[in-house]
Symmetry: C2
Subunit: 209 residues, 2 copies
């Protein structure tokens, strides 16, 4: 099995490294995908939104058939949505995938690739209205949502929860548990300030508070 | 203010990118440190434990005085603990820092740098006994712990919770809230499998289950 994690200029770091870490642990400890790649249009190093610089492992041209594709978000999506090569790559590869997972504003790239029309999907809370305005997406305010083989998660850190759910769905609860235990993903749920009561907070956050 | 995040071969990806993301969001949205660097002995690209390759921003020699230092863990720590240049860097810079935060087995690097003797500290659950065996550390099984300006967190994902607590401590709850909201860090607490009841699970996980 092959897993591709897309990167592009101004991609948000945690959007892709959260799922990347969980994929890597799945591979190492619970018989996950044999190959995990950071994939980009070319092998040029990629400058992320918060300044981290990563080296893609493979270019679109070199990329084998993918079983899983992670499409992160970040400021860079505003530009990449006009990048036909990147959008075409997502559209073509999604057709072969067992699961495609967008994180944060990565959902706008999935939409442009024609993958969200008539589907339930989500994004970062600050972009929910923009996703609704596209008109053909059933926008939900959950931490993540699945519709067929298309998964989408809320902002930045939510990709971690979604990735774990994808592993559970594909490989079972024991595999997801091994990954959760190895990464010690038993978060403290401490709310700082009162942003969970902000009018813009997504429904799943308001519901929990 | 300057913030350094240490990287070295076989560093665990999420150990450093979790805090990195939160530092970057703190900088961008809540008046955090002006400068955040990935710092390494040299500018040679670093291959991480799960295969990601990152480009350090500055070498030890180029590194300015630091206000915050993040010391991640991962398999690479087993080798780096013998790297005198790296250990000396941690020891020297920690003396200037408002806060030093180790994630996962990064605590062993802090210990070798002389920063944990007689102090309360923690690490990844699978290394708690090894940390105890050092003899001079008061090992606690919390998600993270602070002792003076030294903070240490449990495995991999715990660095995120600890970083947020450092921001709260240093810049106040409103700043931590802004970072939590922007990164949408309101995790789902779903337990997969029954690893939370594993004899090796740390006390804070057992207590919650």
């Amino acid at each position: 099995m092959n897993c591709g994690v897309l990167v592009f200029p101004n991609v948000e770091e945690l959007d892709f490294v959260g799922p990347w870490e969980f994929l890597g642990v799945w591979k190492k400890f619970a018989r996950g995908p044999e190959n995990c790649f950071l994939v980009a249009p070319s092998l040029t190093p990629v400058s992320c939104a918060k300044g981290m610089i990563v080296q893609p492992h493979i270019s679109f041209e070199q990329c084998p058939v993918l079983d899983f594709l992670v499409v992160p978000g970040g400021e860079g999506t505003r530009k990449e949505i006009e990048n036909k090569t990147l959008i075409d790559f997502i559209a073509a590869r999604a057709a072969e995938c067992k699961a495609v997972l967008s994180v944060c504003t990565g959902s706008f790239l999935l939409h442009r690739a024609g993958l969200l029309s008539g589907k339930r999907a989500t994004t970062h809370w600050s972009s929910l209205d923009k996703l609704r305005a596209l008109g053909d997406v059933i926008v939900v305010e959950e931490r993540f949502v699945r519709d067929g083989n298309i998964w989408s998660s809320a902002g930045v850190s939510a990709g971690i929860d979604a990735m774990l759910a994808v592993i559970d769905d594909f490989a079972g609860e024991q595999a997801a548990g091994i990954v959760q235990f190895a990464t010690e993903y038993y978060p403290l749920v401490k709310i700082y300030g009162n942003f969970d009561k902000n009018p813009q907070a997504p429904a799943y956050v308001k519901k929990a508070s």
